[in-house]
């Protein structure tokens, strides 16, 4: 099979991937309507304002939903968990769940999660989540 998909940053998302490389999870916030948002773009998707900033997220969140993928996937050994984490800041991200077995008995919705970073290449580190200590 093909190799694992590696993200290609765009000018609009470069800050996000620069952040993950430094061990920082960055989201964005609107200075006009004060909403946090993700994925990256240089304007607020809630109100359209271009007056936005990049902010460092706490890296803490909860398990919002998940599947346990039994299908083959390049770079993965099934079964593995694909989850959605809802950050304390209110935005949701896709993630895998590391340091916990892909077993429904071990995966309780709303369980606390914390960010970690998986180095894929010299340029790209991928945010991942694991059960909070």
């Amino acid at each position: 099979m093909a190799e694992r998909a590696i993200p290609t940053p765009t000018p609009e998302s470069q800050h996000y991937w620069d952040g993950t490389k430094q061990g920082e999870l960055r989201i964005q916030a609107c200075n006009t309507c004060e909403q946090n948002y993700f994925p990256p773009r240089p304007f607020c998707p809630k109100c359209g304002s271009r007056d936005v900033k990049v902010v460092k997220a706490s890296g803490k969140g909860k398990l919002y939903s998940y599947i346990i993928n039994h299908l083959p996937s390049p770079g993965f050994t099934p079964p593995f968990t694909v989850a959605i984490v809802e950050l304390e800041e209110g935005v949701r991200l896709m993630t895998n769940l590391l340091e916990v077995e892909p077993d429904p008995a071990k995966l309780e919705l709303d369980m606390p999660l914390e960010v970690t970073f998986e180095k894929l290449t010299d340029d790209i580190s991928l945010p991942q989540f694991k059960p909070a200590k």
Binding site: N69, L71, V82, I84, N96, L109
Partner: protein, 380 residues
């Protein structure tokens, strides 16, 4: 659109369905198109508008030998054909063209001449979802369901019952891929695909195609086929990212599209005799019943498990057996429309006696887009 101002006068599927090793993707488009033209007494020269999805419309135009005045290549996944019906109705009403052909063909199983669809690549998806190992639709479309199950107490048994009930309908359908009865236990013991989804909760992968021919209600009176009128239409889109759905228990695109179609049609839910909800996976009829307003949020699973949508139930749903049992080439919306057409013509293998209004609801690119068409055989 103006209620009942446009009619569907031709509707046909490919000559064969399921495994079709002797036709490529474009060949499936053409086979369905020629079948639809033949049944309503038209030739390719009568067509002046063409719409298709998942294939370049210019190739369909050239392959069939059409000189169009209007084309639509809207490709938002499996519900694209519902959007085509809506767009064609507007085009016909505004005089852009007179007679529209909508085609679908997909060699989903044999993959002959299958082209990469223009619907799935998303810049955000390649950065923020694909690196986590999501690939085929079963790995993405299913992701919101655990949250729904927690919020509303939907059980795996109820989810399995969707497949069981639809197999009851498929048993009546001579062209359905799978017709043998199944039980909830059968579904729950089938191969795990993406927990909590097992094989029998996932759609088929088959070859086939379908075509529709539309014209004004005025001209439709002169056709040999019994016209089916487009009474209401809706469409919407939300996001190509399953992770960014506003609400994991409800589709915004479903709600917007459904509301528009019901308002245009001027109908209430009790007026609906027959319903099709695109079921790529077992949770979709549940979301659909709720987001279209047939039941309250959280009630869809029990509504189906209790038998309300089965043969003899109060709301016949997915009477061809759906994507779970009838066929699913990849973009199933065309087949949902075909069964809506058969019901309105009174010729379905699982005919709902006396049915006058059929609602056909499609989903596309996971929960990315939606389209809803209200069909009727009684323009009043």
């Amino acid at each position: 659109m103006k209620r009942n101002s446009v009619a569907i006068v031709g509707a046909a599927e490919t000559t064969d369905l399921g495994k079709i090793p002797n036709l490529s993707q474009i060949g499936l488009h053409a086979d369905a198109a020629l079948n639809a033209l033949a049944e309503c007494g038209l030739t390719i020269k009568d067509i002046d508008g063409v719409a298709t999805a998942g294939h370049d419309v210019t190739e369909v135009v050239h392959y069939l030998g059409i000189t169009p005045k209007w084309v639509d290549n809207t490709s938002v996944g499996g519900c694209s054909f519902m959007l085509h019906v809506r767009h064609a109705a507007a085009a016909i009403n505004s005089g852009l063209c007179e007679t529209v052909l909508i085609t679908h063909g997909e060699s989903g199983r044999n993959r002959i001449g299958q082209l990469n669809r223009a619907i799935f690549p998303s810049l955000f998806q390649t950065q923020f979802e694909q690196p986590y190992g999501v690939t085929f639709p079963p790995t993405r479309f299913t992701i919101p369901v655990m949250r729904y199950m927690k919020e509303y107490g939907l059980t795996e048994e109820q989810l399995a019952s969707v497949a069981v009930v639809q197999r009851e309908w498929a048993a009546k359908q001579s062209r359905a891929s799978f017709r043998d009865p199944i039980t909830v236990d059968d579904v729950l013991s089938s191969k795990m695909i993406c927990y909590p989804f097992r094989l029998l909760m996932c759609c088929l992968v088959t070859d086939g195609g379908g075509a529709l021919i539309m014209t004004s209600a005025e001209r439709a009176k002169d056709f040999p086929t019994k016209p089916v009128y487009v009474r209401g239409t809706g469409e919407s889109a939300e996001t190509p990212l399953i992770s960014q759905m506003e609400d994991f228990t409800s589709s915004r695109a479903f709600r917007v599209s459904g509301k528009s179609a019901f308002e245009e049609a001027g109908i209430s839910h009790s007026d609906v005799d027959h319903l099709m909800i695109y079921d790529a996976f077992a949770h979709l009829p549940i979301y659909g019943l709720e987001d279209l307003g047939f039941v309250k949020p959280g009630e869809g699973g029990a509504f189906i498990a209790d038998g309300n949508t089965r043969p003899g139930g109060q709301l016949p749903l997915n009477t061809n057996g759906g994507g779970l049992s009838y066929m699913h080439s990849g973009m199933y919306g065309m087949y949902a429309l075909q069964e809506g057409m058969r019901q309105m013509r009174g010729v379905s293998d699982a005919q709902v006696e006396g049915a006058e209004i059929s609602v056909v609801h499609g989903v596309g690119s996971m929960f990315g887009a939606a389209g809803t068409i209200v069909l009727t055989n009684n323009p009043g």
